[in-house]
């Protein structure tokens, strides 16, 4: 690795595009398809440059027919291709969920493992930029709840490339979520912490393995995607007050790496789980249930921060009131650290 490569920083969008390009170079069965992924290079930039490099046979703009093209991708995958499909916004899954949870996710099981479905479905998640309730949802729990799919979400550009390479090579359907607040598009505000050095060479980030992004002793903060950065901001701010926070990026929503979360909480005795999907039946609840089921002795009640059970409103005055942020994480940490009333 050259010195330049070691320090080269990319956005998640560019990192995803690089992963796709390198894998298409390496594996002739990989193709990319979806809405606006050709000439436009993807609404969120993750297929930029691919059409020029690989041509319209392998980089296929589709009609606005999500049921049709996701079902088609499943057939391609069953026939041995490795399609990477863009479903522009996770909010759009409502028009094509059958092809995802009934078809792709059950192909291995219903065939007793004799027919595989190696496909990646890329989809953007998250709000915070005033796009209202049909373009701002996260829906981690919806996909994490349904068996037969693996669901991943990177919080940094480095993880985005490694997760994408691992996802394309996996034999199963992978929902690859990318958070708009981290994506690095000029027209969307971007969390600077998501723009990281990205090695030029080939590497995988293992699916199903959480990442301890900051070690600490007093409390465990568990996040994913954008909320990892909220957790890190809270941890940094409270460090000056002597609070030592451990931050875990779960990276894979399904299958969830419960072992890493449980081990950390066993060490700290306190947990705050943070996600930006709807609260009820959500990722944070699942994280906390895992810790409780494991019998981890807790020094404070577990805390969860999520989006409340309401549609996502348009006005920033409303949306930012209800979105998770680092201040809410700090408040939860402070509650958890209060001496137990005795």
């Amino acid at each position: 690795m050259t010195q330049q490569a070691a320090t080269r920083k990319l956005t998640i969008a560019k990192s995803m595009a690089e992963a796709l390009s390198q894998e298409m170079e390496r594996d002739p069965d990989v193709l990319v398809m979806g809405e606006d992924i050709g000439k436009l290079g993807g609404v969120f930039g993750n297929t930029a440059g691919l059409l020029d490099s690989f041509g319209p046979e392998r980089v296929r703009d589709t009609p606005i027919s999500e049921t049709g093209f996701i079902g088609t991708a499943v057939g391609m995958a069953a026939a041995g291709m490795r399609p990477v499909v863009e479903l522009m916004f996770v909010d759009f899954f409502g028009v094509c969920m059958d092809a995802i949870y009934n078809l792709a996710a059950k192909q291995s099981y219903f065939s007793g493992g004799s027919v595989t479905c190696p496909m990646v479905l890329m989809t953007s998640v998250g709000g915070g930029y005033g796009d209202a309730g049909q373009h701002s949802q996260s829906l981690y729990a919806t996909f994490g709840h349904l068996p037969g799919m693996k669901v991943v979400i990177p919080s940094t550009a480095r993880d985005a490339k490694g997760l994408m390479l691992a996802a394309i090579r996996d034999e199963n359907p992978i929902i690859f979520m990318y958070h708009k607040a981290l994506q690095g598009m000029g027209w969307l505000g971007t969390e600077p912490g998501a723009i990281t050095p990205v090695p030029e060479e080939d590497y995988e980030v293992p699916i199903g393995k959480a990442n301890v992004v900051r070690e600490g002793e007093d409390i465990t903060l568990v996040g994913l995607g954008a909320t990892v950065h909220h957790c890190l901001a809270a941890a940094n701010q409270l460090a000056s007050k002597g609070v030592s926070s451990e931050v875990i990026d779960i990276r894979t929503i399904s299958p969830l790496d419960r072992t890493t979360i449980i081990a950390s909480t066993r060490k700290t005795g306190r947990i705050v789980a943070v996600d930006d999907d709807y609260l009820s039946y959500g990722v944070s609840g699942e994280v906390i249930a895992s810790v409780c089921e494991a019998g981890v002795p807790l020094r404070a009640p577990p805390e969860r921060i999520s989006f409340p059970d309401i549609p996502i409103p348009f006005s920033p005055a409303l949306e930012h009131f209800v979105l998770p942020n680092s201040d809410k994480v700090i408040a939860a940490i402070n509650r958890a650290l209060e001496p137990v009333n005795g």
Partner: protein, 335 residues
């Protein structure tokens, strides 16, 4: 057109597959009802769950599949047995799957609506029109790899009112996919007649909206279907793109076993049974000079493999309960 003296071998093969399918369904009927009488309880007996029989629809399957090779893909519906048999799905493993046995196609995880046999590229699904996208995908995979194979998606007439139907027809046309869509029009979506829920009389007319040929086939006749399918499949194979074929066929049984069929006009089933395509085809073949002995032989062969398949299924072990946790994901990864 079929000549009067036509004794080409595909005709006796079509006949054999038709009777094989009918014998298969005839063997299912008593097995399915075991444990379900006098009180019908779908959960009871050696074959639980819904059972959709294909009696009467055999000509559609054999007329189309007679043109296909194992490497060609077929996706079928929740009423799949005749198509699976015509495509050459392993009959023992298929019967065992229907009985929920360890030796079944998926070890008992799928049942009769979810039959997968990758050896002959067959799959079916319990969701209306769901197989259309995968058929386009299989066709596109073949096209992109420079292979000569095609895909056929079988659907019912009810599927033509699904969004997936219109999305996949458009996509297949835009991408010039080597695929043929075959509508088995048996006049009913469960209880609702085609006339009561479809804006036009012929779904084949809908092909025009997607710039592809739409072929309407009447008569539920294997020879006519064979000719129409042959043209469409040859077109797909030679790079000419997709086609839509609509076949008027008959559903001689209910939507599923146990269906009281109160929605049928009086006398309809009797009338349809009089036009049963299997004895009609046998008479035509005999008239065309195929010997009764040859046809008897085909029937005996069909009966023999069906009996063997049911014996295999009955004699197979149930899966271990813990097998429920296997094959949710496929292990390993691309090197």
């Amino acid at each position: 057109m079929t000549e009067a003296s036509d004794n080409r071998p595909h005709r006796i093969l079509m006949y054999e597959n038709m009777v094989k399918s009918r014998y298969f369904e005839d063997a299912i009927k008593p097995a399915y009802l075991e444990g379900k009488q006098p009180l019908f309880n779908m959960a009871k007996g050696p074959i639980p769950g819904e059972m959709h029989l294909s009696d009467g629809q055999e000509p559609c399957a054999v007329g189309v599949c007679a043109h296909l090779q194992p490497e060609d893909t077929v996706t079928a519906t929740h009423r799949p047995h005749h198509i699976a048999i015509a495509k050459g799905v392993d009959l023992n493993a298929m019967a065992a799957e229907i009985f929920g046995k360890k030796t079944g196609l998926s070890g008992g995880r799928g049942g009769h609506m979810h039959l997968f046999d990758p050896a002959v590229n067959f799959a079916c699904s319990g969701i209306i029109a769901q197989g259309m996208g995968p058929a386009v995908g299989a066709a596109m995979a073949a096209k992109m790899r420079g292979q000569n194979s095609v895909a056929v998606a079988f659907i019912g007439e009810g599927a033509a009112n699904q969004g997936a139907f219109h999305e996949t027809l458009n996509l297949a046309a835009v991408w010039n996919a080597p695929v043929v869509f075959v509508i088995e029009d048996n006049s009913y979506g469960i209880s609702v007649s085609k006339a009561d829920c479809t804006a036009i009389a012929r779904n084949s007319d809908r092909a025009a909206a997607y710039g592809m040929p739409g072929i309407h086939v009447e008569g539920n006749d294997p020879d006519t279907i064979y000719d129409a399918a042959g043209e469409a499949i040859a077109r797909a194979r030679s790079g000419g793109g997709p086609s839509l074929i609509e076949i008027e066929t008959t559903r001689l049984e209910g939507h599923f076993m146990g269906d009281a069929e109160a929605y049928r006009p009086e006398g309809e089933v009797e009338r349809l049974r009089e036009a049963d395509p299997i004895p009609a085809y046998r008479s035509r073949l005999e008239a065309d000079g195929i010997s009764a002995a040859d046809l008897d032989g085909a029937e005996a062969e069909a009966r023999s493999v069906v009996e063997a398949a049911f014996a295999f299924a009955r004699g197979s072990d149930l899966p271990e309960p813990e097998d429920a946790f296997e094959t949710v994901f496929t292990a390993g990864k691309r090197a």
